[in-house]
């Protein structure tokens, strides 16, 4: 089962404004691309050698923020009441 299908089982209250911003100029020179591997929902993907990211399915774990030692990820929590709403946890 792929991530998209798994995420259909999770409730989100998506905010229109992203709570994560990435500095793509730093990503261009990044060799590690660790964001591809640590995100549980694969919010970071490579598209023609460019890092593309989405915040809608974010689990708000912060793994990408800590793993990215280039500091290309400007990470904050979603606004109060928004984001992932786990029913089991």
């Amino acid at each position: 089962m792929d991530i998209e299908e798994k995420l259909t089982r999770v409730r989100f209250r998506v905010d229109q404004a992203p709570h994560i911003k990435i500095d793509k100029s730093l990503c261009e020179t990044c060799l590690d691309q660790v964001c591809l591997y640590v995100c549980p929902v694969k919010n970071y993907v490579l598209n023609q050698e460019e890092i593309v990211f989405s915040w809608q399915g974010c689990m708000e774990c912060g793994a990408c923020r800590i793993a990215c030692e280039n500091k290309a990820i400007d990470w904050s929590y979603p606004r109060g009441g928004f984001g992932v709403c786990l029913r089991y946890g």
């Binding site: 660790v34 640590v38 694969k42 800590i66 990470w75 109060g80």
Partner: protein, 439 residues
């Protein structure tokens, strides 16, 4: 929160997880005017763990016989640890009937239900719960914390003390300069699925009866040798299945945590159990695993850190505890604030009582006892070399194929040859002994 920003509280708690709700509950019971913030619509919606809540003396003190009213799933009577390779596995099982008697050794549970229930207890005790609110910063005056800045329009709220219990990814701890720049080698990430199965099926599959439960950890192929492991916990009518991996190891091996979970689910030991199960939820979370040596500063003037925000997770490889540490630290934080209020002194010197309480109970004692465990557990050989090695040696001990048999020492020599030197092996054993056995 109309006009509430004008009011001053005795204590503000950031986070309504187990540490925060404990602090709020204990503070409110002691008669303190307490407010606790939760960024979700309801407590529990952002929370996830393996997992097991191990016996919590602190919780039992606050809510006697908590298991009779808390939304727990099963009490764990069976602990399994398995080394796993693509073709073989070795397991160690502990079953203890005493774990199935009061006060119970540990319960599987689902955090969204438990945390919501627990926050409600704090609210009933008189603490004010403010959901849907982020706490974006601490408010400082003359080198002491005097309140918090929330994401709400009426922003700032003041108190004599602030207990920060906002989880593993504590931006507040970093902003305050209490937690150092977090290192990928001190954090793991988990991916987990909750899979529904009928209660009777779970009883049958795992040889459990009544409310008995299983906690099963896996090492080796389940993470393709990446530092971390797989887990399976039985809930009442669902399974919690997931993988945990060190951030730095995922980077080194260029493997995705999400893919590791899929890989784990294809292992025969897991695959056969979940073939009829349906996915109820998928989630991910961060785990602070640096242990004692990477703990942040725990308190300051008008400020205390508890739970995951303080890095209170204790991993020994066989056991992984966090929730009971969170609850015990939340209670200690509240007690320190209650005493500070009696003395009319919320300075760092007075709040040092928090650390004293943590040193007196298991929180800092256990972390100190197993202070070398994080370094031992970040030895890659534990995950990529030893599980297949142990499985292969065991397999050859049992294997009968018409060839003349060899003694066990010869098998061990042949299997380790070229993989690790005798000296390397001895060093790893010594490190393991010093980390876990003779600490």
């Amino acid at each position: 929160m109309n006009n509430r920003s004008q009011e001053k509280y005795d204590v503000i708690v950031v986070g309504a997880g187990p540490a925060g709700s404990t602090a709020a509950l204990a503070a409110a019971r002691a008669g303190l005017k307490c407010v606790f913030f939760e960024r979700a619509e309801e407590p529990g919606q952002k929370n996830m763990f393996g997992g097991v809540l191990h016996y919590s003396e602190s919780l039992n003190e606050l809510i006697p016989n908590y298991w009779t009213q808390a939304p727990v799933e099963r009490y764990v009577t069976k602990y399994n640890t398995t080394f796993i390779t693509p073709d073989s596995s070795i397991s160690f099982t502990l079953e203890d009937a005493r774990f199935g008697r009061e006060p119970y050794n540990g319960f599987t549970l689902l955090r969204s239900k438990f945390d919501r229930w627990y926050a409600e207890k704090a609210r009933e005790a008189g603490a004010l719960l403010v959901p849907e609110t982020t706490v974006d910063d601490l408010v400082w005056k003359d080198n002491r914390v005097t309140g918090v800045r929330t994401g709400r329009s009426d922003g700032v709220l003041h108190a004599d003390a602030v207990i920060v219990a906002n989880g593993a990814n504590s931006l507040l701890a970093e902003k305050a300069g209490y937690a150092k720049n977090p290192s990928p080698s001190n954090f793991s990430v988990a991916a987990k699925e909750v899979l529904a199965l009928p209660e009777e099926t779970i009883d049958q599959l795992f040889e459990l009866k009544g409310k008995e439960g299983l906690a099963h950890l896996f090492l080796g192929e389940c993470t393709r040798g990446v530092e971390g492991g797989g887990f399976l916990y039985t809930n009442r009518s669902s399974l919690s299945i997931g993988v945990v991996a060190k951030l730095s190891a995922l980077q080194r091996k260029k493997i995705s945590i999400a893919d590791l979970l899929e890989n784990f689910k294809t292992q025969p030991l897991i695959k056969n159990k979940i073939k009829d199960a349906t996915l109820k939820e998928y989630s991910g979370h961060l785990i602070p695993e640096g242990g004692y040596k990477t703990l942040p500063k725990l308190y300051g003037n008008g400020l205390l850190f508890a739970g995951d925000a303080a890095g209170f997770v204790c991993s020994t490889g066989l056991t992984l505890e966090g929730m009971n540490f969170a609850i015990a630290s939340g209670l200690a934080a509240a007690r320190a604030v209650v005493r500070a209020r009696e003395k009319g002194d919320f300075s760092e010197g007075q709040l040092a009582y928090y650390q004293e309480l943590l040193e007196r109970n298991f929180v800092l004692q256990d972390l100190k006892t197993f202070r070398r465990a994080p370094a031992f557990l970040s030895n890659p050989r534990l995950y990529e070399l030893y599980p297949p090695l142990a499985c292969e040696i065991a397999s050859r001990i049992y294997r009968v194929n018409g060839e003349p048999r060899k003694n066990i020492l010869s098998i061990m020599r042949e299997e380790t040859k070229g993989k690790i030197s005798m000296w390397g092996l001895v060093k790893d054993v010594i490190q393991g002994v010093r980390a876990l056995i003779w600490t």
